[in-house]
């Protein structure tokens, strides 16, 4: 079947099998490999992307279900001149990553979280990121990064 969606502002139209998962559409058809496949069972959140502005686990959504949607992946956050998105900058400045495998998903989930809860407490951030696992257990600095980014966004 032929499906089309906007990914990071760019139209992507491809022929896919109906069973193609959104994460495979993004990684293989669109060659945007910043989005990772982690657990592949919608537990870990490494595959989190934004679908019409909301965080979704792209390993548990059919590409066909996203036909016509606007998708944002980690590649779409920074400005055209390379300036990092405030959430990316906060992760970098606060050492919000260790091995980096969960990072794209963490950042995307955090962008969605701050959109919905502009003034989160530390507890809000921990609850809001419950769908994202960091196997390095680097949660402390991840939470700190999100709080810093939220603070920056409010100013």
């Amino acid at each position: 079947m032929r499906i089309a969606m906007t990914i990071n502002g760019r139209r992507e139209e491809h022929d896919v099998e109906p069973r193609t998962l959104l994460v495979h559409f993004v990684r293989e058809a669109c060659v945007l490999t910043g989005t990772k496949v982690g657990c592949d069972t919608s537990s870990c959140g490494a595959c989190t992307v934004l679908v019409d502005g909301e965080s979704v686990k792209s390993c548990t959504m059919l590409a066909a279900q996203a036909d016509g949607a606007a998708i944002t992946t980690i590649e779409g956050l920074a400005a055209a001149d390379g300036t990092l998105h405030p959430m990316q900058a906060a992760f970098q400045e606060n050492h919000g990553l260790q091995c980096g495998f969960c990072t794209a998903g963490m950042v995307m989930a955090s962008v969605s979280l701050i959109e919905e809860q502009p003034s989160p407490t530390e507890r809000d951030v921990r609850l809001g990121l419950e769908g994202n696992l960091c196997r390095c257990t680097g949660y402390h600095n991840i939470v700190k990064s999100v709080l810093v980014a939220a603070e920056a966004a409010r100013q």
Binding site: R19, S42, V56, M61, A109
Partner: protein, 273 residues
Amino acid sequence: MIPAPFDYIRAGSADEALALITEHGDEAKFIAGGMSLLPLMKLRLATPTVIVDVGRLRELSYVRVDGGTVAIGALTRHRDLETDALLGEHCGVLQAVAAQVGDNQVRHRGTIGGSVAHGDPASDLPAALLALDAEFVVRGPGGERTIPSSEFFLGFLETALAPDELLVEVRVAATGRNGFSYQKFNRRAQDWAIVGALAVRGITATRVALVNMGSTPLRASAVEQALASGASVADAAAQADAGTEPVGDLNASVEYRRHLARVLVRRALEAAV
């Protein structure tokens, strides 16, 4: 993990969805958010050959209050329930339970109707709706019928919904801001409940439901009866596992689940004021 091959058809209306499911027969399945169905398909525990996508039927996404009844469209997402001011005012308990389903990403996709139709005893909303004596409005080839929640959950992932019927609405009596407490016990934040207990206070009676204590969501009838005859919270909660048949798994043995049910029902009753 990739699902087995299937044909995908997106329905433009509820009537079209019903016509499609009738046309394609038993091998066809509705998909809404897909939060329950897609994992099963990826593990090939479910292998429908036709998927009818009802996820975009906005006509079935709403919360309405009419007199003392709260009507919720089957395709209302958990996220919508979590943020709907009307629901918070008229049925705060359902809002609080919806906010505990899965995680943010799951709540952005999953729907109340999908959760009910899946009929998982470990899910939060089916048990909550059982406690609230919900009614489920389903539409099929012969028109609409209403199924009481007490007659809906028949077995593990088995409901009274016929393969050619679509759940269209969930109805509950408004509880206003009556006291309630949902105690969900799990090991990782986003997981299904190992055991869950919900207590809802009412003017005349307290209703108690159990998550993951058998093949279906359950009412803790012995607890409700004990409370109705004046038993203390501690004495009533001691009967929380009466009549249940929980299974043991990697997370908990049968005895541990029974213990959790008694403890969580006591906590829920103490907190629901």
